[in-house]
Amino acid sequence: MSAVTQPLEARRSVSQTVGNFLRDNPIYVAIVGLVVVTSIVEPKFLTYSNFDNIIRSAGTLIFAALGMTFVIMAGFLDLSIGGIISLVAVVTVTLIDRVGQGPAILIGLTVGIVCGLINSGLILSSGALTQAESLFITFGMSLVYGAVALMYVQGVTQFLTYSESDISIFNAINSGTIGFLSVFTAMAVIAFVILFIIERRTYMGRAVVLTGGNKIAARLAGVPISKSIVMIYAISGLLSAIGAVVLVSRVTLADPTMGTPYMTQAILAVVVGGTALAGGRGSVLWTVVGTFLLVLLNNCLNLLGVSSYVQFMIWGIILITVIWLDTVKQARVRG
């Protein structure tokens, strides 16, 4: 008797689990469905060169989104990454012939961290606790960083026109390989592993999540909110700067406005992955999934011949749907 019912129950619970997953993550399902349709309609989708293309087009976005994850988990937002990417890109490229490529990249990364520290300094000193306040302050800083980038190169696009040996690091990032992994993939994996360890295994990682859960309660419980705010913005600045270096390597130029699109894309990648916009719940692992879902979506729509304007609309619709569904889910969890 019990031998008959047990498998039935097990089967039901599996189907329930699958059902719950489908209900909670319709975006995952929709995009996987799109991938299946694309691979049937367009055989080019399943080729190695397309796969390579997908990995590469995650380029800057994956770094920017990884950095943004901690900021959103702590219940804040960082709209300044567009400005930071532009600024770091032009600073790095113009410094190559003055100080050499290695120092130029290091200075670029330092600029990114400094921008992040400025953001956190402004937010801390003003006592901003809400997402809205951080959103507007970092938006204003984005204008400042973008304008500084424009002033620095006087609005002129800078090209990577140096001899091969002077830009070997950039070439390596763009097309080099370590064993079977491309250098870019290795960089992304290292960044992800470090952030994942910080998130899961360190006190500061837990402090970030607790800050996002409830700032007042976290402060009363002795969580170092100020430290986590400084850390999340510094990390966001640093990773945007790494993203800028990757972007420069790929397109071999630095334009003082090139970072602008990454602001909304990074937020989109984070929330599509499943990190709660309200803070307190999320993971860099989910962000990696979210980024690849977006890149896959883009690739599929390109192969299916959907116009880039409609793709733009689809991104907006996905952003709205994800946040909406997340809100509905949270309301259900709370009862």
Partner: protein, 337 residues
């Protein structure tokens, strides 16, 4: 005893509020003095800045933003935010021009564009008020959708109107050099001022922005009031788009790219708080005119390419310092109460 406590609290809040107003006014005066001083320093601007033509120019270019800002002010006071106004403005301009070029009479085309604005406001309200989703991201996404839709309709190229009469709506001069657009703007400001000051809807908006829970227990229909603020905002953004299209007699799907954040920042510069419950139509008018004057003064200083991007940087610095002050004052008030 309890009466004393209430008075004390009111006094502290009152002091903090007047402190906020004082700091804002102080900052505004510094800005204006700065603009005047800077504009007198250079021969290129010394003669042009303080002229009637220039002030009308500033007024004209700020008018569209002011129309948008009135809707945004109402939403912000009610404790929400609408970042879709830039996309809405561009999209309604595209809609009105395309409809007229297709032979639809001007009033019908305008009415349809305004209806689109109401519809988008209704979707924003449905998702962010009735479903309680985060309005920043919902309206940001809506802005992206509208920009994409406009680009698809126009192939991302500017479209010009084939109906010359349409241009008269914004550009017709009624009082000497003042065009009709400015009169429309003043009318919108006046109506917004009246609605916020003298109607029960206006008082309810302040109440729900101040504390939605308290407002609910006082018998205010919080959801309906808040939804109405988004409808008004969508309608006014569409009106702004129609006026912009009429002013230029053409429309571009990417006209509103940075409009929303600029308008929100200008509204906050004027003294409306992003946290809700504080603000007003006249404050927003002042904020928009101040930023308009500043931009105008800086644009006059474009003597070489190095300085050309300085206005944006300074605008960013000014926006950040005012937002910083806004948060800081609120922090002090929290600590005081």
């Amino acid at each position: 005893m309890s009466a004393n406590t209430v008075t004390a609290n009111t006094r502290i809040v009152g002091a903090a509020k007047s402190g906020l107003a004082f700091q804002k006014a102080f900052l505004a005066i510094i800005l204006v003095v700065l603009v005047m001083a800077v504009s007198q320093l250079f021969p290129a601007t010394r003669n042009n800045f303080f002229t009637e033509a220039n002030f009308i120019n500033v007024l004209k270019s700020a008018s569209i933003f002011i129309i948008l800002a009135m809707g945004e002010t109402i939403v912000l006071i009610g404790g929400g935010v609408d970042l879709s106004i830039g996309g809405m403005m561009a999209f309604s301009g595209v809609v009105v021009i395309l409809l007229m070029n297709a032979g639809v009479p001007i009033p019908v085309a305008i009415a349809l564009a305004l209806l689109v604005g109401l519809g988008v406001g209704a979707i924003n309200a449905l998702i962010s008020v009735y479903q309680r989703a985060e309005p920043f991201i919902i309206t940001l996404g809506m802005g992206i959708v509208l920009t994409g839709a406009g680009q698809q309709l126009t192939n991302a190229r500017p479209v010009s109107s084939k109906v010359p009469a349409f241009a008269d709506i914004a550009n017709f001069k009624i009082l000497g050099p003042i065009p009709l657009l400015v009169v429309v703007m003043i009318a919108v400001v006046a109506v917004t001022y009246w609605v916020l000051r003298n109607t029960s809807f206006g008082r309810n908006v302040y109440a729900i922005g101040g504390d939605a829970e308290v407002a609910k227990y006082s018998g205010i229909n919080v959801r309906r009031t808040k939804a109405t603020t988004y409808l008004i905002c969508g309608l006014l953004a569409a009106l702004g788009g129609v006026m912009l299209a009429s002013q230029l007699n053409s429309a571009s799907s990417i006209a509103g790219d940075s409009t929303a954040l600029y308008v929100v920042c200008a509204v906050v510069v004027g003294g409306t708080s992003v946290a809700g419950g504080l603000g007003g139509a006249i404050k927003s008018l002042i904020g928009l005119l101040l930023l308009g004057l500043l931009t105008n003064a800086f644009n006059m200083l474009q003597v070489d390419s190095y300085v050309a991007y300085l206005p944006t940087a300074l605008l960013g610095v000014i926006i950040v310092s005012i937002l910083w002050l806004d948060s800081f004052t609120r922090k002090r008030r929290r600590e005081a109460v």
